[in-house]
Symmetry: C2
Subunit: 304 residues, 2 copies
């Protein structure tokens, strides 16, 4: 269960820049929890805006990012990480000092560099964040006010970030049902490279390797648990994942090198017929996995 925030939080006007699954779900969550009075959005794809308005996800949409953020006390950048700099440059001329800004990008170092490029330094009211939630579905039509329920959100404030802005973004995510963790931006990018970016790369590589086999349809037909789990991961959006690898390439390459070393070690054990050592690696992995599962389950139980 997510903790109930103690303090009250209220935004008269929330601007969502980029109206997709994440932006739309946050809009719904903030409205239904009473945190947001009026949600206004902008997106390059006008059909998303019209759909968002007609389905009640948002209250209003504007023709430009700059128009959207006028008088907003909260601005949420829910665009792809590669688009953050462009959007910020558009809103910079009209940005008011009272506005708190946050984003939802998967790579924090890259986003913070983009913010710094546009503003000279990261504004004290900019709180970088990353909800660890998603879905195979995308677009505003997939919006779900419970998307963040029992999920983690990592926020990566800097020393120079205004503590009140940090507190507001923390409370905002708690009101949306999430639990919030603070992390250094570089550490966030390393952890995500390990837990999310590398697994996606491995899954794409597996599906591509198998598709190149002559009988690939047959292969998928007999896919048991193993392949089916990988296959689901490889259904993710290619453009979004291209940008994640582009913006987090150093951390990805670091863990990828270690992974390839491990895989070559296992390959050598099979080639050399050293199956007892192979089994020892399997047992070590299973033990680690079971241990972590237990610790995390216990932690979840204690929370409720």
């Amino acid at each position: 269960m997510a903790e109930q925030p103690e303090k009250t939080l209220f935004f008269e006007r929330v601007a969502i820049l980029g109206l997709g699954l994440i932006g739309g779900s946050l809009a719904l969550a903030l409205k239904s929890s009473g945190v947001a009075q009026h949600v206004v959005a902008f997106d390059l794809d006008q059909t998303q805006l019209e759909l968002g308005l007609s389905s009640g996800v948002i209250d209003e949409w504007c023709e430009s990012a700059a128009d959207t953020v006028l008088e907003a006390d909260l601005i949420v950048l829910a665009v792809p990480v590669m688009a953050v700099a462009t959007v910020l440059a558009e809103i910079k001329p009209v940005l008011q000092s009272k506005s708190i800004l946050t984003d939802v990008g998967s790579v924090k170092g890259y986003v913070l560099e983009a913010v710094e490029d546009v503003f000279g330094q990261v504004p004290e009211n900019f709180v970088a964040g990353h909800p660890i939630a998603g879905s195979e579905r995308h677009g505003v039509a997939a919006s779900d006010e419970k998307l963040f329920n029992n999920h983690k959100v990592i926020i990566t404030p800097l020393k120079s970030t205004n503590p009140e802005a940090v507190s507001a973004i923390e409370t905002m995510w708690q009101c949306a049902g999430a639990s919030v963790v603070m992390m250094d931006p570089a550490h966030h990018d390393q952890v995500l490279a390990q837990t999310s970016h590398l697994p996606h790369l491995l899954a794409y590589a597996l599906i591509d390797t198998l598709s190149a086999q002559g009988d690939s349809l047959e292969i998928f037909e007999y896919a048991a648990g193993g392949l089916r789990d990988f296959s689901r991961i490889a259904a993710s959006d290619p453009t979004m994942w291209r940008d994640i690898f582009r913006s987090n390439s150093d951390a990805v390459l670091s863990i990828l090198n270690q992974y390839q070393h491990e895989l070559s070690t296992l390959q050598a054990l099979i080639e050399d017929g050293d199956f007892d050592q192979l089994s020892a690696v399997f047992a070590r992995s299973k033990k680690a996995r079971d241990h972590f599962s237990e610790v995390l389950a216990r932690r979840e139980t204690n929370k409720t």
Copy 2:
């Protein structure tokens, strides 16, 4: 939905050698569908036998494999693949010509070689098989009469196999709710290396790599979809998987080499900053995955 077999099948006495999840589930399925009158089992672990008897999974257990198969019209080898030769050698002196034999091992070439080693040639009443079903749980206590429902079973008869025995095993699996596919043993082992064995190796390697990181508990805590799917796979039984890699090492090494080549290609694209090409690979994978999902879904729909 599984097809209903047209012909009737009835075994007076079914011998299950190795009473775990698969053996126990098959016993339940055959009894509840009226295919088996009396199920008798043997296992090296007597607690499994006692548990199986007290819970009604089996009707009787014996002190040896040889005693178990006496007068059995169906003998199911549900032991690990590495134990097949030992069990067959034990039952060979008392084996009656009327008994049909089958197995449930994950690697067919290895099993058939073991059978040949014991008997000089594969007996005409031996029909090798492999149910593509399983669970993270194991042991007879996890037995589930619906375990094979809507799952595939691959059987790999030889040219010398008695067609009536083949037909009986095919019908037996259909009565247990499965759909049956015939395949050449070597082709089975290649397909399984690709769809099951390689994914398991990749998952074990990932969990082992991540566990070696300093902050591994933290890593698992932020595990989103990507890592969670891998982590589930790596919870599988290490000894069973050691034996699968041992008995199917050639097919595994073949597809593993291709996978490593693919992964190195993706690594080079990231190192060289060629993210458009990376995205093209992702898109190709996603398209393949989506295509196969659609074809298979359509096929499922047509069946019902």
